[in-house]
Amino acid sequence: MLRTLPAPQNATPQQPQPQPQQAQQAQQQWQSAPQVDTYVSPIPITKTHLGHALTSEWTKLRSVRSTMWTLGVMLALVLGIGTLIGIVAASADLDLDGASAIGLGSFGILLGMLCVMTLGVLTIGSEYGTGMIRTTTTACPSRSRILAAKSIVFFALVFVVTTLAAALVAALQTAMVEGASATGEEWLRGTVGVGLFVATLGLLSLAVGALVRHSAGAITIMIGVVLLPLVLAMFMFSKSMADLQLFLLQYAVPSQLIAFYGDSVAGGTGPTGWEPLWIMIGLTAVALGAAFLTTETRDV
């Protein structure tokens, strides 16, 4: 407790100031106090490290409403659509053609992905939008540490939430819809794998947010990255562009997610197995690397 600061004891917003007399008394105290050369605080000095930045970023992430909103909507979409598809598929006696029911979960995740992208951008973009970044950078002068802490906290949160949601939907759908029993690897990919894939995509959004420093701009870019390849492919009627069209169809982010669940979108030459995850990690590493490089040299 610092006795020397003029602390109004029962302050209210209506009268938040200390009474003038109190302030004067406090000042007399200061003046009568022996003059010291430099002030030494009673608060112990601790060297800061990444751990401090991590707890700080976790507080930031959980104390704003956008986190609740985006992750809440994502959960609602993934679980809601997953359950709905399960009910429809079960009542229609859907023939899965020898595949397991886990693949049905991809539709909910596809939409939930958009929420994660928004949250990823907002995690860093809102700091620039509100001016909070100046306070943050003052408290932690290492910008790389700030970016690292944000990335780790955001990735961990999204990974856990997405994996749990995907696992819940997979369990529901395999219970409701008759199909081939899923292998261990299919289960792993449909839960932990999807969690990693979506969290990595979120991290890519965070990196784009750090590069663009403007929330609306970064979200638009990310929506473009996800949807534009499919839209473009739809308009490539010409024969000469057939190869490009096929590439876009197979490697667009939604196609990769579906492929990740085991169904190839357009023919068998696209990414299969764990490949989509490696592609996404590669892309994100490049964007995040650029973000780390530029953040140290740019003015806040």
């Binding site: 602390a7 938040p16 200061w30 030494v40």
Partner: protein, 340 residues
């Protein structure tokens, strides 16, 4: 101790901070004064490592800001009241700052109490008035109980009681042996709080002096005299013990003396006076004179004499040369008529 050495910041063609060199010493309140756009905030941002200097160096006790491992316990800074996420509560805003520097959570409640925001600790910052935002910013600066404090225009948006509070707070902090560096564009405000004064204009250093010296030099009262019998008048005044100083173009100035006394002296000796006027140079005027050449944004006024209380037309040289909004258009119209 904050040391600036040839600090320069250039944005393209525009030089925001131009070769600044001065020192901020501990134990006193150092006022950092300059008109709007003089480069005060840019200087403070470079000090905190937010902006990179184009040239020169700024060190805090010999170190760059980035090299300080526990920044909030070393420097507390209030940059602007709105440098926070509006959706976060005051408590959580301070909590995340405290956590990033390993400051105990209990300290958050303490500083909230200090600035008088305890009652609204759980309210979102976006609902705060400018004054409350300013208080929350000051709470953030005090969080680490640092030895150096930096406030950028802290009285902005505060009510008179709040201004009184922040003045006492700053004086108290300096009396404890801390370094206090505070910027303002109000000379009158600085005269009440600062012990030392650094004045800049258009990024250049204009003055680096103690407040007492600045007041002594600039806030003098004197009597201005004009007389066709200047030599005799000087002798008479000299004999009466009120020496007059020649101030150019036939004007004599007598420091401190009462105008009544001079008038009576002149009458006694049958001297003709063309002017006898008591003058008082205010600190605000002295400051405006100092920065007149370097005021960044002139307001153009075409009504009445230049406003001596604000920046508008403070120089009296360029801004008041007539012409309002339509002047440019009217001139072009005339030109067109003359041509056609």
């Amino acid at each position: 101790m904050i040391e600036l050495e040839g600090l320069t910041k250039r944005y393209g063609e525009k030089v925001a901070v131009n070769h600044l060199t001065f020192t901020v010493r501990p134990g006193v309140v150092t006022g950092f004064l300059g008109p709007n756009g003089a480069g005060k905030s840019t200087t403070m941002r470079m000090l905190l490592g937010l902006d990179h200097p184009t040239a020169g160096d700024v060190r805090i006790d010999g170190r760059h800001y980035e090299q300080i491992r526990h920044p909030l316990k070393y420097i507390g800074a209030l940059l602007d009241a709105k440098a926070m996420h509006g959706g976060r509560s005051a408590f959580n805003h301070l909590l995340c700052l405290a956590q990033s520097n390993g400051i105990p959570k209990s300290r958050v409640a303490e500083v909230l109490d200090t600035v008088g925001l305890t009652a609204v600790a759980r309210k979102k910052a976006k609902g705060f008035s400018l004054g409350m935002g300013q208080r929350l910013g000051i709470a953030g600066a005090l969080l680490g109980d640092p030895q150096i404090l930096m406030f950028d225009e802290p009285v902005n948006g505060l009510d008179p009681e709040g201004i009184h509070w922040i003045r006492n707070l700053m004086k108290g902090l300096a009396a404890q042996g801390r370094t206090v560096f505070v910027s303002s564009h109000l000379m009158s405000e600085m005269a009440l709080t600062a012990d030392h004064l650094v004045v800049i204009g258009q990024g250049r250093l204009l003055a680096d002096t103690s407040m007492a010296d600045f007041i002594r030099e600039n806030s003098r009262s004197y009597v201005r005299l004009r007389s066709p019998q200047q030599e005799r008048l000087r002798d008479v005044l000299g004999q009466a013990g009120v020496p007059a100083v020649e101030a150019g173009s036939g004007i004599l100035e007598v420091d401190g003396a009462r105008s009544e006394l001079i008038g009576e002296l002149a009458a006694e000796h049958h001297l003709v006076l063309h002017e006898l006027s008591p003058q008082q140079a205010s600190l605000e005027e002295a400051f405006m004179q100092l920065t007149a050449e370097s005021v960044e944004y002139h307001a153009h006024s075409d009504t009445g004499p230049p406003d001596t209380n604000g920046w508008a037309g403070g120089t009296g040289t360029e801004a008041v040369s007539g012409g309002g909004w339509g002047e440019q258009w009217a001139r072009e119209q005339r030109k067109r008529k003359a041509g056609g």
